[in-house]
């Protein structure tokens, strides 16, 4: 896709920022310690990254989905985990409020999320409800002017730093499957909220993930976001947009694999010449570049569909599915071409291999994306 002047300028900003600010020292530190870096978070917020997709009237930048995907791609090209820093507020964190929040809720929460002062995370997954998110067992029972929440949410990205979480809980206990689920904003400082220890992840280290445990947590009724019992539909809609961000992240990771590999293949000599001269290597590189180009077009196309308020569910799933799998294939080839050095932490592709792996798992596994795509084809008639 040929970008117009405005989007080309946005891409230039994200690229310049990431190439300058995401130093090797920062990348290594995040990967090695797994700890959140507030300094880079604040700097990204200063330039408006946290609120790219949040409307101007709520303190955001009011940009479109295409800008958002360009941001995630360019940030992820330098460091995948740092793209997540800018993603949460625009996607799963701020998304449910933008979709279903009332005016008071939007005014109360979105400005401080958009300017990076507060972090809001998305708490849907449970130990027994992953791909089957409808299997939610966390409950929210009305009691006077309050709801009382009980349950355990797991793999909640950003929970250790978060101020608020959007929690999905069953409010109609007699309803089956995904019905009877509602959405709440929960202040994570409330009595009864506790966090599990941060998970030791394979990749995307530097954005801690933990369980959120709710034990008789009392929230005011004004914490309900959207209509009672109808929260699941909003969770799915939020994930729709989230998939687009994850697809862009996968494109960034794949592009990074290609960048590193092209550089290495020209430098590394074996049998008296650069390994790029060997067809076995150059064809792998050609495959990587082709898959990335295809994935990028799928992502941008889905973004433009969303920007034009067209149905993009299938397109988002196709983009996420293809880009995530392509990122994994590219990471495999990048490490393969680097040989033994690709297995050593000194080389970026070692981390890219680990960072790529999550792409086809979170925000809907590749198999869930296949289901969405197939359903949209087979169940429409």
């Amino acid at each position: 896709m040929i970008l117009d002047k405005k989007h080309a300028m946005q891409r230039k900003l994200f690229r310049q920022f990431a190439e300058t600010e995401f130093t090797k020292e920062l990348q290594d530190r995040l990967d090695q310690t797994g700890e959140f870096d507030w300094e880079i978070h604040k700097k990204m917020a200063k330039y408006g990254f946290m609120g790219v997709k949040i409307p101007k009237e709520y303190g955001g930048q009011g940009a479109d989905y295409l800008t958002y995907t360009l941001m995630i791609e360019e940030l992820a090209r330098i460091d995948s985990v740092l793209s997540i820093y800018a993603n949460t507020s625009n996607s799963l964190g701020g998304g449910p409020l933008m979709l279903a929040g009332n005016e008071e809720q939007k005014q109360k929460y979105l400005p401080s999320v958009a300017n990076g002062e507060k972090i809001m995370v998305f708490a849907l997954t449970e130990p027994g409800a992953g791909s089957d998110a409808g299997g939610t067992t966390t409950t929210a029972i009305p009691d006077g002017d309050e709801f009382v929440l009980n349950g355990r949410k797991c793999f909640i990205s950003g929970a250790p730093m978060a101020d608020w979480a959007v929690v999905f809980a069953k409010t109609d206990l007699s309803a089956k499957d995904s019905r009877g689920i509602s959405m709440f904003i929960v202040d994570l400082k409330l009595p009864g909220v506790s966090l599990g220890t941060a998970e030791h992840k394979m990749g995307i280290n530097g954005y801690p993930t933990s369980d959120v445990v709710l034990e008789d947590v009392r929230v005011p009724k004004s914490s309900l976001v959207g209509p009672l019992h109808k929260g699941f539909a909003y969770a799915m809609k939020t994930l729709d947009g989230g998939r687009l961000g994850m697809a862009a992240q996968a494109v960034g990771v794949a592009q990074s694999c290609l960048d590193e590999t092209v550089k290495y293949a020209k430098e590394r000599k074996q049998f008296g010449r650069p390994i790029a001269d060997f067809q076995a290597i150059s064809f792998m590189i050609a495959d990587m570049a082709t898959e990335i180009a295809a994935a990028r077009e799928l992502v941008y196309n889905a973004a433009v569909l969303k920007d034009n308020n067209m149905d993009a569910t299938q397109a988002c799933s196709m983009a996420k599915y293809y880009a995530a799998e392509a990122a994994n294939r590219c990471a495999y080839k990048a490490v393969q071409i680097h040989g033994g050095y690709g297995y050593i932490r000194d080389y970026k592709v070692e981390r890219l291999y680990r960072d790529a792996r999550i792409c086809s798992i979170y925000e809907g596994t590749s198999q869930i994306q296949q289901m969405v795509i197939a359903n949209s084809l087979l169940k429409k008639r």
Partner: protein, 266 residues
């Protein structure tokens, strides 16, 4: 109060540099950037804008695509752009350029509390002449090599960074200051800034706009009117490759110290 910043689009010297047959730069074939010192001038203006709420205007002379550069500066926070562009101005040297820019700035208007910021010098010509010449032609006080800057009342306190020391100068507005990279670290564009930059005002001043200004003499503008003649432009030959010493023992470090001492580096 307003601040006018003179800026120049220059070839990105990290890429390939090409030269025309007449010795001038083949700008069309090269990637361009905003001259680095001019970015410091922009940042200085934007910091004063953050502090005092004044208007910042960026002015450049160049071909029409230089509008893209001005839009990027607007995305950083500049309020308005002025593009001075005409075939008659093409090929101007520093003398002719400063004359045209001075005429353009004067046409735009300079008031008592205004400031003009320029970068110290452009990375393509490295002359450091255009800023000071503009000040001379507009009969304004000038302070070059600003490494620190503070606005106090009607004056600016400027710390000039010189080769062998520094000099602190107090200057009243209106004045022209040339900025060096030590002055600040230029900010990035912002997402919101980019969203809004295409709505900001952009004025194009062509030959007709400026031809009646007293500073504009057709005989002293453009390539023909420029007193500087380029004798020859060429890409300097590559320097020889470096020497690699291997080993981490004392013998190697002694060898390194000897080489550096022989070259009077240490």
């Amino acid at each position: 109060m307003k601040i006018i910043v003179t800026v120049k689009q220059v070839p990105d010297t990290s890429g390939k540099v090409a030269v025309n047959e007449n010795g001038t730069l083949d700008r069309a074939s090269m990637e361009t950037i905003t001259n680095p010192d001019d970015m410091n001038a922009i940042e200085a203006a934007l910091q004063l804008k953050d502090e005092l709420g004044c208007k910042v205007v960026a002015i450049t002379m160049g071909p029409l695509p230089a509008e893209g550069m001005l839009r990027e500066l607007m995305a950083m926070g500049v309020d308005e752009g002025v593009l001075v562009s005409a075939r008659e101005f093409g090929g101007s040297d520093t003398y002719a350029t400063s004359q045209i820019l001075a005429a353009a700035i004067d046409t735009y208007g300079i008031e008592k509390d205004d400031i003009i910021f320029s970068g110290r010098q452009a990375i393509d010509g490295d002359t450091a002449q255009v800023g000071p010449q503009i000040a001379e032609k507009l009969d304004l006080p000038q302070v070059s090599y600003a490494g620190e800057l503070k606005k106090v009342g009607d004056s600016l306190i400027v710390k000039r960074m010189l080769e062998d020391g520094y000099m602190t100068v107090k200057v009243e507005t209106p004045c022209l200051i040339t900025c060096i990279k030590e002055l600040n670290e230029p900010r990035y564009m912002s997402v919101r800034g980019i969203e809004e930059c295409f709505e900001k005002p952009m004025t194009v001043m062509d030959y007709n706009t400026l031809k009646d200004h007293p500073l504009i003499d057709p005989a002293t503008i453009g390539l023909k009117g420029s007193p500087t003649n380029i004798f020859k432009s060429f890409t300097p030959p590559m320097k020889g490759c470096g020497v690699m010493l291997e080993g981490s023992d004392k013998k190697t470090t002694d060898q390194l110290a000897d080489i550096l001492a022989a070259k009077h580096i240490i």
